[in-house]
């Protein structure tokens, strides 16, 4: 009797929570529905959740074929995010390996130093980074952003914590068999770290895709803009056209949504693993 009552209660809360979650996602649902409407229907009240007159294809064409080169922004974003993700994985995993498994003088000092660098907010280093990029002639180029984006103390820390949990015996055994550090790293560490590497890669990709401040400060030429900046440009061009703006927003979010929904397990696991800060 008790359990049945419990079950009913659980179904009830599920229903209530379902309603709450739909309410929670309303802004995004509104965005998607507005993207498929004629402009005059967007602000109609009560809201037509399912457009009475579909205009999705037209809006899509207008956003992607307008004089704001949306396709190019997409390509830029993809290029930047992919390059940063790949390089971050390489750099962070190598340094994490050194910090977790190799014994050398000053290792803990180096690690402590890295950790303490984490407290410096991004904004405080904007000006120095700006100057550095200028001096290296990397200002206003993708290369500059990628170089800045490939080093991440946070991900190094996350990877190191994971690697410390990997048993020393694996390494000892490999060493007995005559493997050098390169081989140990490539053949033993990396395969064992696959889950955390996947997490780091996905999160880094999402962050780089959404990064707004970096490109805003370090890029000038419009042809180099990634999606977030392109969106802003688009918004100023079509400020009064809500349906087109919503279509552009939708286009900006969709790739991430797909990545996230396919790989949500890794993302959520990664977030809860280290309390990733955003």
């Amino acid at each position: 009797m008790m359990t049945r009552k419990r079950k009913a209660f659980k179904w009830l809360t599920t229903a209530v929570m379902g309603a709450i979650s739909v309410l929670f996602l309303t802004p995004l649902i509104w965005m998607a529905s507005s993207a498929a409407k004629y402009e005059k229907d967007v602000m109609v009240y009560p809201i037509q959740w399912i457009p009475a007159h579909w205009n999705f294809a037209n809006n899509f064409k207008e956003v992607w074929m307008s004089n704001v080169p949306f396709g190019l922004f997409y390509f830029n974003s993809l290029k930047l995010a992919a390059a940063m993700t790949l390089l971050t994985l390489i750099v962070s995993s190598m340094s994490a390996f050194a910090l977790a498994k190799l014994r050398f003088k000053g290792r803990n000092l180096a690690f402590g130093l890295l950790l303490s660098l984490m407290i410096i907010p991004n904004e405080a280093t904007l000006v120095p980074r700006y100057l550095l990029l200028k001096w290296f002639h990397l200002y206003n180029s993708h290369m500059g952003l990628i170089v800045m984006g490939m080093f991440s103390i946070y991900f190094t820390y996350l990877l190191r914590q994971f690697m410390i949990g990997i048993h020393q015996d694996y390494l000892e055994a490999a060493k007995m068999d005559g493997a050098g550090y390169t081989l140990i790293f490539l053949r033993i560490m990396l395969p064992l770290c696959k889950p955390i590497l996947a997490t780091v890669g996905i999160i880094k990709f999402i962050w780089s895709w959404n990064d707004y401040q970096g490109p805003l400060i370090f890029l000038i030429r419009k042809e180099l803009y990634p999606i977030p900046l392109g969106m802003q440009l688009f918004k100023s061009e079509f400020a009064d056209n809500v349906s087109l703006t919503m279509m552009a927003s939708l286009s900006a979010i969709v790739p991430l949504l797909v990545v996230f929904i396919v790989l949500q397990k890794q993302v959520i696991q990664g977030i809860s693993l280290g309390g990733v800060k955003g």
Binding site: M17, P27, P121, N122, F162, G275, G278
Partner: protein, 265 residues
């Protein structure tokens, strides 16, 4: 650098030592205080409200519903959405005369609903709503990770002893959640101020005076003018917050270490 006066165009030789002048200029600039005040009000609202909401939702999601995975994903989606897109959506929703939110309020019989982002008295409120909305999923995920560590037997034992739901929540669920609340509180305060800066959100120009986040907006205004000295403001505004964050990482290794070991085993 914060002690120098430097016009970037003049090159390196143009750096001039001015001592504390920049600090004096900063203290004399009432915009800084306005920004700090807004920053504090913003944090003081977003953090506690966000945490309480997240804690309640995560407890319910963790143990009281079917389809836990769906809820985690649903609440997490805003967090991964691009900030610019979020800004675009909310500024349309908050539109003073045509936006659905005000239409709804008028429908409820409120004759003069606030103009939200276009109104200096309400824009901070609107931003706070958006900020809580955008970060809630992240908080929930962290809390759920913490809740998963509580063994089921504790609740069963409490049941047998006749403890009701509220007592169970207060005595079993809450205590271990505290460090997580703390952790996410730091990340939240910090992360929000850093990544969902008000100045990135809709209608920046109109709302800027109210929402000046003491951070990038200032620098951004200065950068084109090449007055680097004033970046000291950012250091001042950011440091206390950050230091706590770091302390948390260092003092709280058990928390993260535990999760980590559990995963490898």
């Amino acid at each position: 650098m914060s002690f120098c006066d430097w016009n970037l165009v003049g090159g390196l030789s143009a750096i001039e030592w001015v001592g504390l002048d920049n600090y004096r200029a900063m203290l004399g600039d009432d915009k800084i205080f306005m920004a700090l005040k807004n920053n504090i009000a913003y944090t003081a609202c977003v953090v506690p409200v966000g945490i309480v909401l997240a804690l309640l939702l995560s407890v319910v999601i963790h143990s009281k519903v079917y389809g836990k995975e769906y809820f985690k994903v649903a609440f997490f989606i805003p967090y991964i959405s691009s900030i610019v897109a979020i800004g675009a959506v909310w500024s349309a929703l908050f539109h003073p005369s045509q936006g659905p939110i005000n239409r709804f309020l008028i429908g409820l019989g409120i004759a003069n609903p606030p103009k939200w982002l276009a109104d200096t008295n309400y824009s901070l409120t609107a931003i706070i709503v958006i900020a809580i909305w955008a970060a809630l999923g992240y908080q929930i995920v962290i809390f759920i990770a913490g809740l998963s560590g509580i063994p089921e037997e504790l609740y069963e034992a409490a049941d047998i002893d006749g403890a009701n739901q509220a007592q169970q929540f207060a005595r079993i669920t809450l205590p271990p959640a505290r460090p997580h609340a703390f952790l996410s509180d730091h990340h939240h305060a910090d992360g929000l101020l850093q990544s969902i800066r008000p100045d990135r959100l809709p209608d920046r120009r109109r709302a800027e005076r109210v929402l000046d986040g003491a951070r990038v907006s200032h620098l951004r205004r200065r950068l084109p003018q090449f007055q680097n000295g004033l970046c000291v403001g950012h250091l001042l505004a950011a440091l206390p917050n950050r230091r706590r964050d770091h302390a948390d990482h260092v003092e709280n290794p058990t928390n993260e270490g535990r999760g980590m070991r559990g995963r490898t085993a």
